[in-house]
């Protein structure tokens, strides 16, 4: 049987990140192609609720690593733990949600393990028995197809919206506590958080978005977009030049340098 696919799940304060389910769906789809099992790993502290939620998916095994040094995310602790788990599971592919947190530690993890890395994947296909990964390049203007050379584990982060969370197959995952050989080593001290600007908007969760680009013209045209967003009950967003002009706060920036979104309705004005 082929080596497993290992899905690294993301949680914060015990709540599962939305994209963790997309990562499970991606992992299951890939495991089907490769003909091996799909396993998952959840790390943190106080994970009862998250473990219960994840154990209802079709996974060959759920590895749980609980440690007080994992209560808050730090790349040092996460990379140390994941390197141990990956070393034990020997996966063909490791699937991670392409979140800010993942990108923060992904390069370090690939370097530590000396394995291949393909970030921000939007899809995959097989050809000549090998996998071909699709990912955007040049600020999303083009798509590239990437292959991995040689026998190595591949770390793959999957882009938001590329694999539907609804597609994650249900089942019963056996839960196993993973015994760490070494204590996790946090490499940063978390001092706290601060809000950006006045409003706190998570555009990745928005069902409807009215997005504004440079093509809208002058700043006074923004009120038209605002009216439309209000009429629809949609969130207002913008591409980089509009944000740089100060017409909207930076937490409303979307695109390759901003947030990745997957609304049901997206209205693009001058983009």
């Amino acid at each position: 049987m082929a080596n497993p696919v290992l899905v690294v799940l993301q949680q914060r304060e015990g709540g599962l990140h939305r994209m963790s389910r997309e990562a499970i769906a991606a992992g299951q789809s890939l495991a089907e192609t490769l003909g091996g099992p799909v396993e998952a790993v959840l790390l943190g502290e106080g994970l009862e609720a998250a473990v219960e939620e994840v154990s209802a998916f079709a996974l060959a095994r759920l590895h749980v690593v609980e440690h007080q040094a994992l209560a808050a995310y730090t790349p040092g602790a996460y990379v140390g733990v994941l390197a141990e788990v990956i070393g034990a599971v020997e996966p063909a592919v490791v699937i991670l949600p392409h979140t800010y947190q993942t990108v923060d530690f992904l390069g370090l993890l690939a370097q530590r393990l000396d394995v291949a890395l393909v970030p921000e994947v939007t899809g995959f296909e097989t050809a000549d028995g090998g996998l071909i990964w699709e990912r955007p390049v040049l600020g999303g203007k083009m798509t590239s197809k990437v292959v991995v050379r040689g026998e190595t584990t591949v770390l793959v982060s999957v882009q938001s919206g590329s694999f539907a969370a609804d597609g994650a197959g249900a089942g019963e995952a056996p839960v196993e506590r993973f015994a760490l050989a070494a204590d996790p080593e946090p490499d940063r001290e978390i001092l706290g958080t601060e809000e950006v600007g006045g409003d706190q908007v998570d555009l990745s969760q928005a069902g409807m978005i009215v997005a504004v680009g440079r093509g809208i013209g002058d700043g006074d045209k923004m009120s038209i977009a605002e009216e439309l967003a209000e009429a629809l009950g949609a969130e207002l967003a913008a591409s980089r030049p509009v944000i740089d002009n100060g017409w909207l706060p930076r937490d409303r920036q979307i695109g390759s340098s901003g947030q990745t979104v997957s609304p049901k309705l997206y209205v693009a004005l001058g983009i």
Binding site: P75, S144, E194
Partner: protein, 263 residues
């Protein structure tokens, strides 16, 4: 304090892009090249930190001869020295290979802090800084929105998270920080700066200087290979609603309600 800044020269993505004949990358003929956007912010942040501490800024890039232009631009805005990793054997690597080569070059200069952009605008792995940190054994942070060097060998760092929240953290120095675009206002080169930069020739280092075997670096050492690039499919399923704005808007709302069922 000696600060290393890693910059990358990238094709201007605002320019009209065409495929190269082998369709493995874009045709780089006639495409203007610029300093990667977030790297410009990293450079500005380094200049400000150096000014506050009477420090020195050393800029590094890995790339072909044309990349020297990016180094000259960095010197013109105030970088003290520039190092060009210039060797055909170093070309064509992925983030892991390129990060390893940059780390070797940085080690030779004994730097206290490394700044770089959070992501390149061409290949966009967002991983090079983390790789450099791993190679050097230093802590790092990605998507940095603020840096304050503190007494006692630490830095207070603001990191952007999702949902409009920033995390404030403390790192021990030396460290690698990957800077998010927008945290400062990159300066323009003054005439004096441009004149002074002409006297500062970037130094060149090759694979041998970095003690990297040609088969283990550049394209030969990379574990990933781009087999093709293409424009995303477009036009499929697109439809133009006829009539003036009032008529088209009514039609659109109707269809969003009944067909797409999103309203």
């Amino acid at each position: 304090m000696r600060i290393a800044v890693c910059i990358k020269q990238v094709p201007d993505t605002e320019a009209r892009l065409r495929l190269r004949r082998d369709e493995r990358w874009i045709d780089e003929e006639d495409v203007p090249f610029v300093i990667n956007e977030s790297d410009e912010y990293a450079l500005e942040e380094a200049l400000q930190l150096a000014e506050a501490s009477e420090g020195e800024v050393v800029v590094f890039t890995l790339g072909p001869e044309r990349a020297k232009e990016a180094l000259r631009k960095a010197l013109a805005v105030g970088a003290h020295r520039a190092v060009h990793l210039r060797d055909d054997a170093l070309e064509g690597g992925d983030a892991l290979i390129t990060g390893a080569a940059l780390a070797r070059a940085i080690e030779r200069e004994e730097c206290d802090l490394v700044l770089t952009g959070s992501q390149s605008d061409d290949v966009g792995f967002g991983a090079t800084g983390g790789v450099i940190a791993g190679q050097l054994g230093w802590p790092h942070a990605w998507l940095v929105m603020g840096v304050e060097v503190e007494e006692g060998g630490t830095a207070r760092v603001v990191r952007e998270m999702e949902s409009g929240v920033n995390e404030i953290l403390r790192l021990r120095l030396p460290a690698v920080l990957e800077i998010q675009a927008g945290l400062n206002h990159p300066r323009y080169a003054s005439l004096r700066g441009i004149m002074q930069a002409k006297k500062k020739e970037p130094s060149e280092v090759g694979a041998a200087d970095l003690e990297l075997a040609p088969e283990a670096t550049g394209a030969a050492g990379a574990r990933t290979e781009v087999v093709s690039v293409g424009f995303p499919e477009s036009g499929e399923g697109a439809e133009i609603l006829e009539g003036d704005a009032e008529v088209a808007a009514r039609q659109l709302v109707e269809r969003l309600r009944k067909e797409a069922k999103v309203l």
